[in-house]
Amino acid sequence: MPTIRFHLNGTATAVEADSDQTLLDVLRGRLGVTGPHFGCGANECGACYVMVGDHAMASCDMPMWSVADKKVTTIEGLGTAEQPHPLQRAFIAEQAMQCGYCVSGIMISAAALLKRNPSPTEAEVRAALDRNLCRCGSHNRMVRAVLRAASETAAS
């Protein structure tokens, strides 16, 4: 098995993996990074999203070979309880979920959006989250949370 090197949440990481093994499988299995969730395995629901560079992408169908030398950010890399990302603060403030299974992928999509567009409109937030599914119906709270995070970041 080849050794594949990439940056995971700011840390240089090397794993031995089949090059067509999926990133999600390596994250959740070997590396014990369980923030990204399995939902469909077909890049249709967004539960497994991670940032590769500045782009939110599905990790469930992303082969390891394509990750070599890339910067990968999962929800674990956004922030911690001690040093939360503005999105994490905002999702708590807006109580922006019901079950929360989709939330890690949604925060990744939102984080990627805020990187490329720090002051999105509501319609832009919705468009950016359209590839993420939520079954509980917490969409509007999540949109409010993303807008809150954007405005708090702008104000600080």
Partner: protein, 710 residues
């Protein structure tokens, strides 16, 4: 002589589990462990229950530690369903905590030499005049809670509650935002192996032969398990389990299966099957007014998938002839009962422990996958085995919400006033949950050697809100009616409980036909409903929604407004909804305005969250959702084939709560679906002048309805 006053009655969950210590314990670190029998399924119940406990005990909510339900120690509260958790668990905990508080005050009074009535409790510290003080934790050794509840204690008056009735942040959200493992899917266990089960693509097919050779060659394979028609793999990693399953599938031979109905003629199928017929309710009128004519209308709703974002998952570990199971089932004791039947073990040999999953919205595959894990773990030599279903299996093998055909005949007089009403339902039963019958309801039980038959869904009794007949008896004061339920005795498509059971379909039918009659009369739909309701709480939610939506908005081309109302189960939460839609061939729901009355709203923001979520999920059902199948396969096995509402399609949702702190609380999770469904359908008529009576309301259905009307 006066008759003795009747003994006070314990809340139902407490009567079944009277021991105080099974609900509440004071732990060493200044914490209070609260053990409900109900479970978190994303609805925020553990937070609301923590609020109730914090309030009655007068401790900070931060001291409350909510214990997950387990058959090892928790009260048995049956299943977390039917919007009953606040009613059952909440009332029990309020009563328990009130009594515990009273017991501690009595002991504190003796210890401190101060009359109990002069003692205060503040964050668990009990104090009185002269600066005397003690605490729950200091006294915990002196107060035994291993005693039965007496029903003698009185809970605080509504005005004295400081936590319940106010919005608090949910206790589970920080873990989910910071990705601290909380879901069963993320939970590491030492030595964990991974399992996958082989299931047919053809509906109802049985495994008749299996060539295991290819699968045996997959690196990382630990075992292939086979019991009759049940087969699966255990491997060191998920990837290896997937690879082994793929290899195993190539070696499988299946029987022909059982034919599925014609997806395009659901009503024809439902109305032609053998049924069990029940008269749900009749009302006769003394007046013998003659009907000028009768309107007869048929409404249908399709099979609807629970379609949780997370595929169902469970873990199991054998130790000799004892097994421990981790599950996101809604009923740990009920699951245990079914496992005991299948395994032929006493229930004491099985521990079933709840661990959170994603939202399930009813009886999905949570219980099925638990038996899968138990059976596969037999081959794992004492290792725990984690089984996770595929998206495909989740969308094809889990139970669905039942399809329904509903026919209403309304007898109208010359003024188009309703003088008679006949409502008939054809549907499979809406519940086939585990733990309630002599036979198991779990999927693998129908696959093993000496298989059990597939359990045909039944309906809960009317006293529990009914099933297919849920919400079929109008809350409106009509002079006469007959309500009939025809439950199918065949079940080619597996059905069980989905949010509201038959409530969504029945409210859609009733409120649609009322709207049609309102239009014939040229009356305002709000006025019509108020005129036919006697219940002031019902009228209040309708008035509140109307006020909030500025009823009736001016007519604009391409825009429609509609109203829907129901009291869930006719005994639960009141909810009125007003929909604003834009429509041409496709319908866009722009705004939903709702008013809701759940009695005392323990966590108002939690109630709003549930109502918003229910409204959005109902919009998704109405506009998009329909389980697809041909005559041999369920074909909607991916998100592409079973689309749900996306962020850009979600309407604005505005919710008003009518807070009634003095009235016993009821649940909110299923209150919005029926009213929202009806409001959207009625708005479609307002916008396009056409009645769509078959859900979902898609472009094709609108065109079909227009052709029918012309």
């Amino acid at each position: 002589m006066t008759a003795p006053s009747p003994a006070p009655k314990l809340p139902v969950s407490l009567a079944a589990n009277p021991k105080l210590s099974s609900w509440v314990r004071f732990t060493d670190e200044g914490h209070v462990a609260i053990s409900p029998g109900k479970v978190e399924i994303g609805q925020g119940i553990v937070t609301a229950l923590a609020q109730i406990a914090a309030d009655e005990l007068d401790v900070d909510i931060g001291r409350i530690e909510m214990i997950r339900a387990s058959t090892a120690s928790s009260p048995n509260e049956g299943v977390t369903s039917g919007s009953l958790s606040i009613q059952q668990s909440g009332r029990a905990l309020r009563q328990v905590c009130a009594e515990v508080r009273q017991l501690f005050l009595a002991v504190a009074s003796e210890r401190l030499g101060v009359d109990a009535s002069r003692l205060d409790i503040n964050d668990g510290t009990i104090s009185g005049p002269g600066n005397v003080r003690t605490s729950y934790w200091e006294l915990a050794g002196e107060v035994s809670l291993d005693r039965d509840a007496s029903a003698g204690a009185t809970a605080k008056l509504a005005a004295a509650r400081g936590v319940a009735g106010h919005s608090v942040q949910r206790v589970d959200i920080p873990d989910k935002v910071f990705a601290r493992p909380r879901f069963i899917h993320d939970r590491p266990l030492p030595g964990l192996l991974h399992g996958r089960v082989l299931r047919p693509d053809i509906s109802g097919a049985r495994l008749i032969a299996l060539d295991e050779d290819a699968a045996r060659g997959v690196p990382g394979l630990v075992a292939i398990a086979r019991e009759g028609g049940f087969a699966g793999v255990v491997a060191e990693t998920e990837a290896a389990a997937e690879a082994a399953l793929k290899a195993l599938r190539k070696g499988a031979t299946w029987s022909a299966g059982e034919p599925l109905p014609d997806e395009d003629d659901l009503a024809g199928f439902l109305r032609s099957q053998p049924v069990e017929t029940t008269i749900i309710d009749t009302r006769t009128s003394a007046a013998t007014k003659k009907a000028a004519y009768t309107l007869r209308r048929q409404y249908t709703r399709p099979y609807i998938a629970h379609a949780s974002i997370a595929p169902s998952c469970a873990m199991a570990q054998w130790n000799g002839d004892r097994v421990r199971v981790w599950t996101h089932s809604q009923g740990v004791y009920l699951l245990r009962a079914d496992l005991a039947i299948v395994l032929k073990l006493p229930v004491e040999s099985i521990i079933v422990e709840h661990t959170e999953g994603a939202g399930c919205y009813g009886h999905n595959a949570a219980d099925d996958v638990a038996l899968d894990a138990v059976l596969l773990a037999k081959a794992a030599a004492g290792h725990p085995v984690r089984v996770q279903w595929s998206r495909h299996d989740e969308m094809s093998h889990a139970p669905f919400g039942a399809a329904m055909a509903i026919e209403i005949e309304a007898d109208l007089d010359a003024d188009n006033e309703i003088i008679g009403w006949r409502h008939a339902i054809w549907s499979n039963g809406h519940a086939a949950r585990p733990g309630r019958a002599a036979q198991p309801a779990l999927l693998a039980a129908t696959e093993i050697a000496n298989p059990y038959p597939r359990m045909i869904s039944s309906n809960p009794p009317a006293a529990n809100g009914g099933g297919g007949d849920r919400n079929s008896v109008p809350l409106y004061d009509l002079p006469a009616w007959t309500i009939t339920s025809h439950r199918l005795l065949t079940m080619p498509v597996r059905t069980s409980a989905l949010r509201t059971l038959g409530g969504q379909g029945n409210v859609f039918a009733i409120e649609s036909l009322l709207d049609e009659i309102v239009a014939l009369r040229g009356e305002d739909p709000i006025e019509f409903r108020l005129r036919h309701l006697r219940d002031e709480r019902a009228k209040d939610v309708i008035r509140a929604a109307a006020r909030r939506a500025h009823w009736k908005p001016q007519k604009r081309a391409g825009v429609g407004h509609g109203v829907g109302f129901a009291r869930y189960k006719n005994t639960g939460a009141y909810c009125a909804a007003i929909a604003e839609i834009e429509g041409a061939d496709d319908i866009r729901v722009k705004r939903l305005t709702l008013a809701v009355d759940v009695g005392e709203a323990i966590n108002p923001d939690g109630v709003i969250n549930q109502i918003e979520g229910g409204a959005i999920q109902a919009t998704s059902w109405v506009l998009k959702e329909r389980v697809r199948f041909d005559r041999t396969h369920i074909t909607s096995t991916s998100w592409t084939d079973y689309p749900i509402l996306t962020f850009s399609e979600v309407p604005a949702v505005d919710v008003e709560i009518i807070q009634r702190p003095e009235i016993e609380p009821v649940g909110a999770g299923e209150a919005a679906h029926g009213p929202v469904t009806a409001a959207i359908a009625n708005a479609v008529f307002d916008c396009l002048g056409v009645r769509v009576r078959d859900l979902p309301i898609t472009r094709d259905r609108i065109i079909a309805a227009m052709e029918l009307a012309s």
